[in-house]
């Protein structure tokens, strides 16, 4: 798997390898200074696309030079020129739009980036020519340009649908207003497109996935922070409000559950008992129902491939749906606020976890006893019962205890979505803005969760 990197050097051809020339920082400084100066000039003169194109091209060229990927001045200049040209094309197509950005426009505007990718891909692979045939150079150029084009297309599409392109947010679209593409657009667009495209190019060249992952994560973080308006400043500003909030939350109101003057006064511990009951039903029924699914979803014990596939897919789909979504679904089906919905949701929750854990355990059992049972003429499920089940029974019990613990934790919050238990009370008090009562419930939940954790650690130590 590491071979390609070695075969790129001329050593493979029998000649003595020349040592790599040392990187001369002074030479690197020239294109960088030129790029920054050009950026400043272009930016001041008001030509945004030229400025950003120059910056992107020069940054790429500097990277190529610094990483020893391309040393030829012609290639470096071509990269810078391609940067300016491609961003100009990109900009010209976008500026000429008369409607919101839709699929075809995104595709056309991405042509600029396709051009840039072609040049960059060529520059990246040209130096490795002796080992890499010319078809390889072409193939990599095309692959890089596709990566750039795709990145650009996605960025534009995402930008126009979720609004990082400033003009196209919410009501403004309906009003038909189209503003200029601002600096924010160029910064974010360049970050997304450059990040994904360049890292794809680099990943192709050096076969390093970590680099790609790093660039992609950085890009994702930039986009995400911008999208959800996450800012540290806002966080710090909110801390100044903590004083007045504390007055609402503190002291917790312990008395209300008993003094509430309604016929069906809710005691704070009553919903807690309900939560516990939901967890008991969920864990017990779920763990029992999981057994046939787990044995069907495991190769050695599946009766046939169709059942195996069906059980496995069922398991995966059930696992994908969060427990609280099950809560909402069942609440809709059997009635909002009913703990029965919570119990059903917990059954699905336990079932999905137990089926996965158990089937993975069954995957790794000793096949000897199974063969013995089969060769002495037992039916399929007899084999499972007498040869497979005893091997996993201890794990099963351990998992069941663990799932019971998870169930209690999960059933605490399931009421928030309308499925009974203490969560229902929490949601109700929250809707009345009774924060001191919310605080009391949260403290009880906190104590209960800690208690359960301590207890389950103790029990596990006892058993193991």
């Amino acid at each position: 798997m590491t071979a390609p990197q070695d075969s790129l050097t001329p050593a493979a051809m029998g000649t003595i390898q020349r040592p790599e020339p040392p990187i001369q920082v002074s030479k690197l400084a020239v294109p960088l200074v030129a790029a920054i100066a050009g950026f400043a000039v272009a930016g001041l003169s008001g030509s945004q696309p030229v400025a950003w194109g120059l910056l992107i091209g020069a940054a790429t060229a500097a990277f190529l030079y610094w990483q020893n990927l391309a040393r030829s001045p012609a290639l470096l200049v071509a990269t810078v020129v391609a940067g300016i040209a491609s961003l100009s094309i990109f900009d010209a197509i976008l500026e000429s739009r008369t409607t919101v950005i839709e699929w075809t426009l995104s595709a056309r505007a991405s042509l600029g980036w396709v051009l840039f990718g072609l040049v960059v891909g060529f520059a990246f692979s040209w130096a490795s020519r002796p080992a890499l045939p010319i078809q390889g150079v072409i193939a990599r150029s095309i692959a890089t340009s596709v990566a750039f084009g795709l990145a650009s297309f996605l960025a534009l599409q995402a930008g126009s649908s979720i609004g990082y392109i400033p003009a196209l947010r919410g009501r403004e679209i309906d009003a038909g207003a189209i503003q200029d593409l601002g600096t924010a657009f160029y910064v974010q667009g360049s970050a997304i497109i450059g990040g994904i495209g360049l890292s794809a190019a680099i990943a192709l060249r050096v076969r390093n996935g970590a680099l790609f992952a790093g660039a992609a994560s950085l890009t994702m973080t930039l986009v995400a922070v911008n999208q959800i308006d996450f800012s540290i400043r806002e966080l710090l500003r909110s801390f100044t409000r903590i004083g007045e909030l504390a007055d609402q939350f503190w002291p917790p109101d312990w008395a209300w559950p008993k003094t509430i003057g309604q016929p069906e006064a809710v005691h704070i511990f009553e919903p807690f008992v309900e939560t516990l009951q939901i967890a008991v039903i969920g864990a017990t029924i779920g763990c029992i129902l999981a057994v046939p699914i787990a044995f069907s979803a495991s190769r050695p014990t599946a009766p046939n491939y169709a059942t195996y596939w069906f059980a496995k897919s069922f398991m995966n789909v059930v696992r994908t749906i969060p427990d609280l979504f099950w809560g909402i679904l069942f609440a809709t089906a059997v009635g909002f606020g009913s703990p029965f919905a919570g119990a059903l949701a917990m059954v699905m929750f336990s079932l999905s976890i137990m089926a996965k854990l158990l089937s993975e355990t069954v995957d790794s059992i000793d096949l000897g006893p199974l063969e013995a049972a089969k060769s002495s003429g037992s039916r399929h499920w007899q084999m499972v019962q007498y040869s497979a089940y005893p091997q996993v029974a201890p794990n099963y019990i351990a998992y069941a205890l663990y799932i019971f613990e998870l169930n209690i934790r999960a059933s605490v919050v399931i009421g928030i979505v309308g499925a009974g238990g203490i969560g229902r009370l929490l949601d109700e008090r929250r809707n009345f803005f009774q924060w001191d009562q919310v605080m009391a419930i949260v403290m009880v939940i906190f104590a209960a969760v800690i208690l359960i954790e301590v207890f389950s650690i103790w029990i596990r130590k006892k058993i193991v």
Partner: protein, 302 residues
């Protein structure tokens, strides 16, 4: 025909192992210990046989109402799903960056006891609050919207990732740390060159796993108004009774989660086990079915 004679003799001579004591009793005790709480719970929740009998029909009615799904709101739904992804991502980034230093302070093999004890209790304290409860507490402070949800997920992730990462750090080989110490390395150098290279792959795999969990959590957070796709689902099901649209939202959400789970678990597997030698289609297949040969790196934690 003297052969059959041998058989009764042989069975006579071989001693049967004694029956394990109490097995019969144990079985009954376990059964009672299971059934009694079950009955108590069923009674407490007013689950009667007629209710159980009716439930499948009610669920089928709901499923029938959702099908065929109404796809008209798809762009809006995708937007909300993306928002959920962003919330999960930033939450995971917060959790990962802040839990990383805390994990060192919580690991008994690299930090003194008087530091590990408070850090550990701090981690388990923040872990004890479910994300939803944290978000409910944060909404009055930070307002409705994804910001409160992000912070709730981030804070909870610090707790879980801190605990898992510190367990990884406790499991590293002491040799490299001692070697660096012996050659005069500072505490920071011991950590950087002795612990991090050993622990990082597993820790990064945990980060990715946390991201998968956080996506589910952030999808749910919308229910209480903390951003993301949950609001759409609960709104359609509960307040508007718009089942076909809710069905579309649910299907899109599940598909997204499934897609990201698949991608993320194959990356995790690669991080932990290096290259997998299976052919490409087989790899995709096994990633899709979640049935790889390599040891599972999953651990279920909510």
């Amino acid at each position: 025909m003297t052969v059959p004679d041998l058989v009764p003799d042989a069975t006579h001579d071989i001693e049967r192992p004694p029956e394990p004591k109490f097995t019969k009793w144990l079985r009954w005790i376990v059964l009672i210990a299971l059934v009694l709480p079950l009955m108590w719970s069923a009674a407490g929740l007013e689950i009667s046989p007629s209710r159980i009998w009716k439930a499948p029909g009610q669920i089928l009615t709901l499923l029938g109402g959702m099908f065929p799904p109404d796809w008209t709101g798809t762009p809006k739904t995708l937007e909300l799903i993306l928002e959920s992804l962003y919330v999960a991502w930033i939450g995971t980034i917060i959790g990962a960056t802040l839990s990383f230093p805390l994990a060192f302070l919580a690991a008994t093999n690299v930090a003194p006891r008087w530091i590990t004890l408070p850090v550990r209790s701090f981690l388990s304290a923040i872990r004890a609050f479910p994300e939803l409860v944290l978000a409910i507490m944060f909404i009055p402070a930070f307002g409705l919207g994804p910001f409160a949800g992000t912070l709730a997920i981030g804070l909870h992730s610090i707790g879980t990732l801190g605990k898992l990462s510190s367990e990884v750090i406790e499991g590293v080989d002491d040799g490299p740390i001692e070697a660096i110490k012996a050659s005069g390395g500072t505490f920071f150098q011991q950590m950087r060159f002795g612990v991090v290279p050993q622990a990082l792959p597993t820790i990064v795999a945990y980060w990715l796993y946390r991201f998968e969990i956080n996506i589910r959590a952030s999808a749910v957070l919308g229910v209480i108004g903390a951003g993301g796709v949950g609001a759409e689902i609960v709104g359609r099901l509960r307040f508007r009774g718009d089942w076909p649209k809710a069905g579309a939202v649910l299907i899109l959400t599940v598909l997204t989660v499934l897609l990201i789970d698949t991608a993320s678990s194959s990356i995790r597997r690669r991080i932990i086990t290096g290259h997998s030698s299976a052919s490409r289609p087989a790899k995709w297949m096994s990633a899709l079915l979640g049935a790889g040969k390599p040891p599972s790196t999953d651990l279920i934690e909510t």
